[in-house]
Symmetry: C2
Subunit: 187 residues, 2 copies
């Protein structure tokens, strides 16, 4: 990237593979936060959501404020197998595969600095995606792209390919003490 | 808050106390992500930074995109006691106490839905702040405000007052394998 003359030339970017996993809050939330910071640096960020559908209006409306540098693309079909999910498994699996193809295309397009695969670890754990297809995508990552894979239960093969792994561990959660989900905090 | 007639009336908010702690990445980042989501719901958010100064341009420029609903206010003086910090301790301590007073005023103002005290746990651990002053602020929290306290090494008395605690645990970090900090990822 050409730099204006009054800036110190930057070191060449080393694109990292980050994994955010664990059962605690803050994985998807951190992905959104990284988008805030990156957009502040003029970087381009795309976040593909593998499980979430289009119901999270707060997230989508907030994300629009970071457009066009940030694109948030919900490609999931919502909760899988729980919470009144009436969709057959293959519909979820097809959606996850489409999401992976969309993520791969964008990662290789040269248009993005950061590509976020939100809840992709969950899609692997639920066998909506083949682990090998996700590992292949990680191995194909261009040198200058940061790739982020979020979701609880990340596979150890995914962890092995990562440069940075953070586990969000739930120490105390209000559901345990009978408090319902709160807008802006839980969704 | 009055609701447009075509919306389902919402349950009364139960303002929570959240603590984000641990040695891993994602605490401040999650705070920024919560701001994205909350702003998407039209909520008002203020984030006071207790340690960071005004050097994090990406964060500040990104945050401006969420203004005016989101205000990010760096009130720290930067790293304390490390990384070439030349400031006497009392300068850091004064700054932290000013930050706490500013946070308290905003929390009680009725103007904010979410008040974030970024790295306040670090300020307590470094004795820039008295633990009791932070606990008093938490106890004064109005019912309908969400209060978030971030930073590694949260004091157990703070954890006791929290409804939700997430520990960000570093499982693998690129500094360990000799990779430098990356813009948009580490800062």
């Amino acid at each position: 990237m050409p730099q204006p003359k009054d800036r110190i030339p930057e070191k060449k970017r080393r694109g990292l593979v980050l994994v955010l996993t664990g059962d605690g809050k803050g994985k998807t939330t951190s992905c959104l936060g990284m988008a805030v910071r990156a957009v502040g640096y003029g970087m381009k960020v795309v976040m593909i959501q593998f499980i979430k559908g289009s119901l999270h209006y707060g997230e989508l409306d907030g994300a629009k404020r970071l457009a066009p540098e940030f694109e948030l693309i919900p490609m999931g079909k919502g909760f899988v197998g729980i919470m009144g999910d009436a969709l057959p498994f293959y519909v979820h699996a097809d959606a996850a595969r489409e999401a992976l193809a969309a993520a791969r295309e964008r990662m290789l397009s040269g248009k993005y600095d950061i590509v976020i695969l939100d809840e992709v670890n969950v899609a692997v754990r639920l066998r909506l995606l083949d682990l090998e297809d996700v590992l292949s995508l990680v191995r194909e990552k261009p040198e200058n792209v940061h790739l982020i894979l979020s979701g609880r239960g990340a596979h150890e093969e995914v962890l092995r390919l990562a440069h940075l792994v953070t586990e969000m561990r739930s120490v105390k959660h209000p559901f345990e003490i009978g408090i319902e989900a709160e807008k802006g905090i839980d969704y």
